[in-house]
């Protein structure tokens, strides 16, 4: 019993530290990659190649004054960053990041918790994230925050439906909710579910980008019209909690996409954990690439796209996949 607690505590601590470092360097990567895509250089002065920039940013935010406006709902206002951050972290509880290893006489699994309802867990905690945003905007007592919160909740729930439907194809083929088993079924590159679920993958990644409120679906925080959206009135560490949770969400979605469609940690030669990181890194790059490429949607286009294109396509994908699975069973 106690060794289980100790082992999983160590794993949890390592993973949390890795995610927080990943988030910090995702901001660096975003600025650097965006810079180069726009013929700029990006952060340069803090450390070699600007590599210490995230550290400088973090330190600066810790030293900033925490300004709480007069007419906020104090309790909700204080709770909202926590409610936004913790769910974005919790996704990683079920994502397998490495193969099992034997160490110090114990068998250590490459996943914090191999729940047999892994996928359901992922979707449950992802949808919890919306509470943080809504409560933040509602309790801030600012019109920009309120508008941003309403927009983001409408957007997130609209894409939630297609998001959930898009992975039903994978479940149909894999016949399991456990993410570890799904990874094990994708041992070689030809088994990757992206080749058996191409439409499912496209739907998933589109909805995922909308769920994480990233460009070109970043309407909740459209700077040009809503200042900063739901976190307009937040400053100091509370702001950075929202900021980190956005990046943690991106990394979480990238790891889930890697796990469901690109074979997770499976790969030749290199150690599994490295393969996992490489694949997640490529997804993060895709995020930034999309941001540099696409202009923002208009709000009515965004809602129409979710309901009139993605949702029917996801339904169709489910029927077609089910039919094909049945057909291959017969043959």
């Amino acid at each position: 019993m106690w060794e289980i607690v100790i082992i999983s505590s160590i794993k949890v601590l390592l993973v949390v530290v890795a995610i927080l470092t990943g988030c910090a360097y995702a901001t660096y990567m975003e600025r650097k990659v965006l810079g180069h895509m726009q013929h700029r250089i990006g952060p340069l002065y803090a450390g070699p190649y600007g590599l210490l920039q995230p550290v400088a940013d973090g330190l600066k935010l810790i030293f900033k004054e925490d300004i709480v406006p007069d007419n906020v709902e104090r309790t909700t206002y204080a709770l909202a960053p926590l409610l936004a951050f913790v769910p974005s972290l919790l996704t990683f509880a079920v994502v397998p990041f490495a193969a099992d290893v034997d160490m110090f006489g114990y068998r250590i699994t490459g996943v914090i918790s191999d729940l047999n309802i892994g996928i359901l867990w992922v979707f449950a905690v992802t949808s919890l994230g919306v509470y943080g945003l809504v409560l933040a905007g509602w309790s801030s007592g600012s019109k920009y925050s309120m508008l941003g919160a309403i927009r983001s909740s409408a957007q997130m729930i609209s894409y939630e439906v297609a998001y959930g439907l898009s992975i039903i194809g994978v479940i149909l083929i894999a016949n399991t909710f456990s993410l570890r088993e799904i990874v094990e079924q994708q041992a070689s590159i030809t088994d990757w579910f992206v080749f058996r679920q191409p439409l499912g993958f496209l739907l998933f990644i589109t909805c995922a980008i909308a769920e994480t409120n990233r460009a070109p679906f970043d309407l909740p925080e459209a700077e040009s019209e809503l200042v900063a959206g739901y976190h307009t009135e937040y400053s100091s560490m509370r702001f950075s909690t929202f900021f980190i949770s956005e990046y943690a969400n991106m990394i979480a979605v990238s790891s889930v996409a890697t796990t469901l469609f690109f074979g997770g940690w499976q790969g030749p030669l290199l150690p599994p954990i490295l393969w996992f990181c490489i694949k997640v890194f490529l997804f993060m790059f895709l995020y930034i690439w999309l941001r540099a490429t696409f202009p923002r949607f208009r709000y009515d286009q965004l809602m129409a796209f979710g309901w009139k294109v993605l949702f029917p396509l996801a339904l169709l994908n489910t029927i077609v996949t089910a039919g094909l699975v049945m057909l291959t069973d017969w043959l």
Binding site: S8, I112, W138, M146, I168, M237, T241
Partner: protein, 124 residues
């Protein structure tokens, strides 16, 4: 599926994760509370509205379209939830389940097109 004892330990790990997640946030809040300056005054603590004094209440009336979309979400998301157990057991259920679910999805389609025709998806 593993035994109950094993899956209890899996949930224990999740619990540890939740505590560590909350703890990490509270720790950074605490740290910054120790070292940050605290100097509020009246002008600083009015809500941001492009440096003007805010006009009206921030809890304004919003477009009732948002409400309709929320209703749509509740209806369709609940129906999507029904698809999950079907999908995971599909291998054992056979042709009958396929036909039944196709009928179910067609009803979903019908519902969607009904909402579409009624203008529930229009954003004006």
């Amino acid at each position: 599926m593993e035994g109950t004892a094993n899956s209890m330990s899996e949930y224990l790990s999740v619990l540890i994760f939740i505590f560590v997640g909350i703890g990490s946030v509270l720790f950074t809040f605490f740290l910054s509370r120790l070292i940050r300056p605290h100097n509020p005054y009246k002008e600083k603590s009015i809500p941001y509205e492009c440096a003007e004094l805010p006009i009206g209440d921030s809890w304004f009336k919003f477009n009732n379209r948002f409400y309709i979309f929320a209703l749509m979400f509740v209806i369709f998301d609940v129906e999507v939830v029904f698809l999950f157990p079907w999908a995971v057991a599909f291998g054992e259920l056979g042709l009958f389940a396929l036909v039944e679910m196709i009928i179910f999805i067609l009803i979903l389609f019908f519902g969607l097109f009904y909402a579409w025709r009624k203008g529930a998806l229009k954003w004006v």
